[in-house]
């Protein structure tokens, strides 16, 4: 069933920009905090969007992160232009990573990102085309705690 969109915001993410990596997710967290979203849900949205944002920073050329709020759920959509993921099932396995030493020096690249997004989401969809890019859709319901 189509639902009314209460709020929609778009953020650009630059690949390789470790200085600003996380800015978009922090803004999303602050927007939802001001609206009064439950602290546990807020934490799940923030963590899932930050992991997704850092994936764009680490692996893609650029990306767009979209926040869509409806009366019942928060949707985070991330579309990037980049190398894509050849084997999504493998990438979803905890510990699998193609990270470079630079990414690991920043505290990331342990192969926990995608599994952690899935863990925090109520619905998680991922599609990828090699040499084109990756699309994620993370849905978190506002009316349950996923625990």
């Amino acid at each position: 069933m189509e639902q009314e969109t209460i709020l929609q915001e778009e953020f650009e993410i630059a690949g390789g920009d470790f200085v600003n990596g996380g800015v978009a997710s922090c803004r999303i967290k602050n927007i939802l905090k001001e609206i009064g979203v439950d602290a546990n849900i807020l934490r799940r949205v923030a963590i899932a969007s930050y992991e997704a944002e850092m994936n764009v920073v680490m692996y893609a050329k650029k990306g767009i992160m979209k926040l869509i709020l409806t009366p019942n759920k928060v949707i985070i959509r991330v579309d990037d232009e980049g190398p894509g993921i050849p084997d999504i099932e493998l990438a979803m396995q905890p510990g699998y990573s193609t990270a470079t030493p630079e990414m690991r020096e920043m505290g990331f690249g342990a192969g926990m990102g995608l599994p952690n997004i899935k863990k925090n989401a109520d619905v998680f969809n991922i599609n990828s085309t090699v040499n084109k890019g990756t699309n994620l859709e993370i849905t978190i319901n506002l009316n349950n705690k996923n625990e």
């Binding site: 930050y50 505290g107 990331f108 926990m112 952690n116």
Partner: protein, 127 residues
């Protein structure tokens, strides 16, 4: 326990300006890997880490962690300190190793947010 008490125990110095450190701390996560920090089930209140770049601060802002103590004498650059000040996340630094820092705080009753065991001053208190 308050953050300023932890500062005394670890003989840590405060790196941020104008941020209060009389914050209550009960749960601590210790890791150099931000993915681990983002992976706890329950929120931690303090991060102990040797990773002194801006992503340590961002990770705390995202995960709702109130303060950072850098171990092994690590100090972040000015930009990272400014970012922490704007996020209202106090930064401290101590010269001890991660192992010694964790040991000192665990023995005084502080615990991991997802702890399955008792605390250092109540080791038999398995949950």
């Amino acid at each position: 326990m308050k953050l300023n008490q932890l500062k005394e125990i670890l003989q840590a110095k405060v790196l941020t300006n104008h941020l209060p450190i009389d914050i209550e701390i009960n749960n601590i996560i210790a890791s150099d890997l931000m993915s681990d920090v983002l992976n706890t089930k329950n929120p931690a209140e303090l991060l102990l880490t040797g990773l002194s770049n801006n992503q340590a601060v961002r990770t705390c802002e995202i995960a709702g962690i109130k303060a950072i103590i850098f171990v092994r004498g690590k100090t972040p650059d000015e930009e990272t300190i400014k970012l922490a000040e704007s996020c209202k996340i106090p930064l401290l630094s101590c010269d001890l190793s991660m192992f010694e820092t964790c040991g000192l705080l665990y023995s005084r009753g502080l615990k991991n947010p997802d702890s399955k065991y008792g605390t250092g001053n109540n080791p038999s208190g398995r949950i």
